[in-house]
């Protein structure tokens, strides 16, 4: 490129040519490919030099910043190119944590359901009555010669026969019959002086309370059990009351009944 042409091009690019000179120059550009190439070269040189200046001056901090961030996000210590990629990825990805949590919840719920399924019978009212019932007759058939239907209230064996009937009804899962017998036994005993040492009246009272599972309001029964637990009953019944209260308060009790 000769100096004259360069100066002419620069004048054109700096818009220092007058209107006539500019028109003539642009006419030449249309026909002179060499001149057009030179103008194009000078324009690009100016543009890219200006960009360089801009990056060096106004974006001087950019290169150090991208170097720093590049190291931080791409050059992690101890990692090689065959390692899983870049930026800290948790050993177990978040999506997997979600799946693991869901599986754990399902397992816990499943476990509780299975445990409940296998133990559900332990908390039914029938099971609890059978579990906590105490025989009223201390020695079964001791001194009883006839059945209850063959006896009258005046017979000395009558009370024992009622107690026996209460125990038998319960063994046959006839709870309301057992309840009637126990009520009869306690009613008669309060008016009858012919008591039998073979009858456990405290057990009869306890059994009536346990049979309350069938017809008493839970709160009322819990209250009566609490009174018994803290009262002057035998230790056996105090402990029984405490155990039964706990079972009644267990969630399984509510689910089973």
């Amino acid at each position: 490129m000769d100096p004259e042409t360069i100066e002419e091009i620069e004048k054109y690019l700096d818009q220092e040519l007058d209107a006539k000179g500019k028109k003539e120059f642009e006419e030449r550009l249309k026909t002179d490919q060499n001149l057009a190439d030179r103008v194009d070269f000078m324009q690009k040189l100016r543009k890219n030099f200006a960009l360089q200046q801009y990056l060096n001056q106004e974006q001087a901090e950019l290169l150090p910043l991208t170097n720093e961030l590049g190291e931080q996000y791409f050059d992690q210590k101890g990692l090689t190119d065959s390692d899983p990629p870049t930026v800290p990825i948790p050993l177990i990805p978040m999506r997997k944590w979600g799946r693991i949590s869901a599986a754990a919840i399902i397992l816990i719920i499943g476990g509780v359901c299975l445990y409940w399924y296998m133990n559900r019978d332990l908390y039914t009212k029938d099971h609890l009555i059978t579990e906590f019932y105490e025989p009223v007759l201390r020695n079964p058939r001791s001194g009883i010669k006839k059945s209850l239907t063959e006896l009258t209230q005046d017979d000395p064996e009558y009370l024992q026969a009622v107690a026996e009937a209460a125990d038998q009804s319960l063994n046959q899962q006839q709870f309301s019959s057992s309840q009637q017998m126990l009520e009869m036994l306690l009613r008669m005993d309060s008016t009858n002086t012919r008591k039998s040492d073979n009858i456990n009246l405290e057990a009869a009272k306890w059994n009536l309370l346990v049979l309350g599972l069938l017809n008493l309001e839970p709160d009322s029964l819990l209250n009566q059990l609490m009174i018994l637990q803290n009262g002057d009953a035998s230790l056996k019944y105090q402990q029984g009351a405490e155990r039964l209260r706990k079972k009644m308060k267990h969630p399984f009790y509510r689910w089973a009944n």
Partner: protein, 204 residues
């Protein structure tokens, strides 16, 4: 303005102004997909770092010249530039069996790839041209660099390039010497640029 446009504007503005916090956000968000793509396609972490940095620079160059009007998503645009850059490098390395991972990630990111191909090509061409011109300028002998830099540098007062008389004065040389030297330096620079393979790519 949609939320996507606001986010695009925020990112582009951060690049233009060198906002460290937002630029780091871009690294945090996009370094993994870029790295994954390059590692899955015969590249290394170092390659991924370079491509990422080059993409940032390409965007800044573009923004220095004109505004970038993104109709799509910034992330998708950024990933597409990285992909183009990496494919270009692979072509030079003769490894053409690349995977479609980037498209998969883009799909996963639920961003549309409705990118303007021409716009993308223009951005990459601009970056290539910048690299070619500045590289060749820096390869010139020192006296050429001095003369051309002063000639090209805009005068602070009139915002025009320095005249040869001004350059001669600054460098303490005669006007005829500077005039002749500048002509020779430009000739040399032009020849060097034309001899580079990138020049032919740019003029395809």
């Amino acid at each position: 303005m949609t939320s996507k446009q606001i986010q695009n504007h925020r990112y582009l503005n951060a690049l233009r102004e060198g906002d460290r916090v937002v630029i780091e956000e871009i690294y945090r968000e996009l370094s993994t997909p870029v790295s994954n793509f390059i590692l899955a396609n015969k590249g290394s972490r170092e390659d991924a770092k370079d491509v990422f940095q080059e993409t940032i620079m390409a965007l800044i160059l573009k923004l220095a010249n004109e505004d970038l009007d993104l109709s799509g998503d910034f992330n998708a645009y950024f990933l597409a530039i990285c992909r183009y850059k990496w494919l270009d490098r692979l072509k030079n390395r003769k490894h053409l069996e690349t995977k479609k991972s980037m498209e998969d990630w883009v799909t996963k990111l639920e961003v549309s790839l409705d990118l303007d191909e021409m716009e993308l090509q223009s951005l990459l061409r601009q970056e290539m041209e910048y690299q070619l011109y500045t590289e060749k300028l820096n390869e010139l002998p020192n006296h050429c660099k001095e003369i051309l830099s002063l000639s090209l540098k805009l005068n602070e007062e009139n915002k025009k390039s320095h005249s040869l008389k001004e350059v001669a004065q600054i460098l303490g040389k005669t006007y005829p010497y500077i005039r002749k030297a500048k002509s020779n330096c430009l000739k040399k620079l032009k020849a060097n640029i034309k001899a580079d393979a990138r020049f032919h790519d740019l003029n395809k």
